[in-house]
């Protein structure tokens, strides 16, 4: 198994106004799987926000099943139809806090509906019960194209904060 960094994008210092998302394009079709690592934060009011993940920059709905721990309550969710894919910190949390996010997309070049797993954690500086953990398996029901690009953004369209960053690795 070999792993190679094939792309990265980040929001520089001060680049906060109007920054709505990080996009990776031109993904080579020469690997077996993709691994995405991200560190994200949003200026949205409140403690946390959802991460929006759009394969091929398509925000169409998809389904997921998984465990989401939110504010001391554990939920098992199924068929939540939105571009939601994990949690990130928002403005009420300490400014230094960014989420830890991993997304793994197997067989990204084939012509089947795309699926992925994601793990994310956004711990809280306010209280331990305000932290959010998420582990989900997601599947698109209408997205059979090979993955050539993706975008990470606020699932509620509230933008991303400076220093938010993403790295994508090709896996063989």
């Amino acid at each position: 198994m070999a792993m190679k960094l094939i792309g990265t994008a980040s929001l520089p210092s001060g680049n906060t106004s109007g920054s709505t998302g990080l996009t990776i394009t031109g993904i080579p079709q020469t690997y077996k799987d993709l691994l995405i690592i991200a560190s994200l934060r949003t200026p949205r009011a409140g403690e946390q926000d959802g991460v929006g993940f759009a394969l091929n920059e398509n925000s169409s709905t998809y389904a997921y099943i998984g465990i989401h721990w939110n504010g001391g309550v554990t939920n098992q969710n199924t068929n939540y139809e939105s571009m939601w894919a994990g949690a990130m910190h928002a403005s009420a949390n300490a400014a230094s806090l960014y989420n830890n996010h991993e997304i793994y997309i197997p067989n990204y070049t084939n012509s089947l509906n795309k699926s992925y797993i994601q793990n994310s954690v956004a711990n809280s500086s306010i209280s331990s019960n305000a932290s959010q953990l998420s582990m989900t398996a997601n599947v698109y029901t209408t997205n059979t194209n090979a993955v050539t690009s993706f975008r990470l953004q606020s699932a509620t369209a509230n933008g991303l904060t400076q220093y938010s960053a993403v790295w994508v690795y090709g896996i063989n």
Binding site: G21, I24, I27, G52, T156, A157
Partner: protein
């Protein structure tokens, strides 16, 4: 007040180039639609949580009025 320009930061793996570009009209419409739907969903979820909390408080008050202790109410 000038409308804020929304942008995407894009990295192209093939060219190695990073650009910051404004959203197209279609992307902007999609983004605003997500924002609208999210706000509606948040308002509905908040209303549901508040209604449930109010119903719980009302039920606890009625139980207390017929003589249950706080410990007995919590044990239900």
């Amino acid at each position: 007040m000038t409308e804020q320009e929304l942008t995407y930061t894009e990295y192209n793996c093939t060219t190695g180039e990073t650009i910051i570009r404004p959203l197209t009209d279609a992307e902007r419409a999609d983004y605003e639609e997500i924002k609208r739907i999210s706000a509606e969903r948040l308002a509905a979820e908040t209303a549901a949580v508040e209604a449930k909390a109010a119903a719980k408080a009302s039920a606890e008050a009625k139980l207390a009025a017929i003589g249950l202790t706080p410990e007995e109410i919590a044990a239900l």
